[in-house]
Amino acid sequence: MNKKNYVLKRIGHSVLTLWLILTLNFFLFRMLPGDPLRLLFTDPRVPLEVLEKMRVQYGLDGSLLHQYGKYLLNTLQGELGMSFVYNMPVSEILVERLINTVILLLPATLLSILLGCLLGIVAAIKRGRASDFICLSLSQLLWATPAFWLGLIFMMLSSGFLPLSGMTSAGMTFDSLWAKGVDLMKHMAMPMCTLSLVMLGQYAIVMRNSLIDVLTEDYMVIARAKGLSHVRQLFSHALPNAVLPVMTLAALNLGLLIGGAIQTETVFTWPGVGRLVFDALLRRDYPVLQGAFLVISSCALLANLLADLFYKLIDPRIEY
């Protein structure tokens, strides 16, 4: 199969998966016990006629199939419905939260990849020795640590000298943009460290294994035979190859990262998608949950697709 066909097929699969996600998303929320509208208007003082009016407004009228069709149509037009909790379109809320989440996740991911790779490199180079054992054990330990717990521990440790919640200090005045940035950074420090640390282990393990595989490749023997220095062998020849699986993992990890974000954002009250999901869960804001779930899953799907294409296109060893 040639490349073009492969890419087309892969995209086709993803579209199919997207449709499955949409369908799952729709029916999952129809499994709710009771009437979703009852959940929205828990106050029984609301007259029934008003309730019926609301039903139409929130798109909860008509047969299931009818609702499903309407849901698909609306979603494709980017309309994710109205939040039960906030009187505003879900898509608007999501966009704002996504930005906040990216502000947290991007540096956290970079940091975790950087540190994880470092740890992995050390382990791979010192393969079989004590430092390998330590690096590997540390990575496994971090991998097994729940983000929320690490967050709690950090919170306990940092109370007193770092802000514990939110993204900015509300009610503060800042002299400059710089001071504002500093404030953001202080708020970000703990959640970012938490996320980086729990993600780090995986990268370290993958980096180690990948690098060990690469180091035994012929081109590494050639690189050595070329009389290149160790540093040059590592950075110029081994790492560009070894880092490929790490990059793929980073893309595939998006889903896991979101899970981590839910935990850290909840613990540190960071106003991102993760906390949105948590709050929406507590308040049973189903349109928001539905929208957030769709966006999260689509992002993961896209990342998955891109990682796959990227990997298969760049690595000649993969057959189609």
């Binding site: 699969h13 016990p33 496994q140 729940p146 521990i153 919170m155 839910i262 799907l301």
Partner: protein, 287 residues
Amino acid sequence: MTGVFRLKVFPILKQINKKGMAGMIILAVLVILAVLAPVIAPGDPREMAGVDEIMLPPGWDHWLGTDEVGRDILTLVLYGTRISLLVGFSCAAISIFIGSVIGLAAGYFGGRVDDLLMRLTDLFVVIPRLPLVLITVAVLGPSLVNTIFVIGMLIWAGTARIIRVQTMSIKKRLFVERARSLGAGHLHIIRRHILPNVMPLVFANTVLVIATSIYLESTVSFLGLGDPTHISWGMILHYAFVSVALTYGAYWYVIPPGVMIVLTVLSFTMCGYALDEVLNPRLRRRK
């Protein structure tokens, strides 16, 4: 299904690395703790003391202190072992069953069946796990059975993929062809030829799935979607968080359950990797 478990236990044990052994010992201890919890725990997890005994730091009467209603934390943690292990094993059983059936069917029948099942598997691989579990538990309502059911139902995809690949490679081998030519039914071939070869992998995978389940359950419980009538480690941490243990500086309330989660997940993972190394031919070369 006799003959499926043709795992030779002792030769495998001999090959397991040191970390795997350490993991196994920890696990054995945990299982013993869980079983003997009522005997060794210093108190009753439901027993609450008066106002003057709440949030006590560790001391002689309460080795790990007390919580905000005066329960002994050591007791809670010991009983938590039961729930966490129960969740781990039950989730793994469900997920391994589904994963095996789908993996076997996809790998064995191939073609359209494979295509269809793999799309389904893709779906569950791609969807971020925690949000899906959280939302589904929220939709079904918080209870232990629901949590187990949901986690089990949602994490089988990895297992299915592994088993599919293994089944395909075994199917290609000659003896299956020969067995089929003798007119054996599909079920017979799967049972007699494929299952015994897939089982070791399933076994190693199960251990890893248990670790994932425990991890997920603790997160779900911590986020307040657990079953408050059953104390798991995640639940203890949830109580700690909502009862403001951090403000109180109650480190004794926060640290022990977390350590237990880490320890358990870690030892299951180490065992899993060690077993995988022994049982999975693909990984042997990395040793």
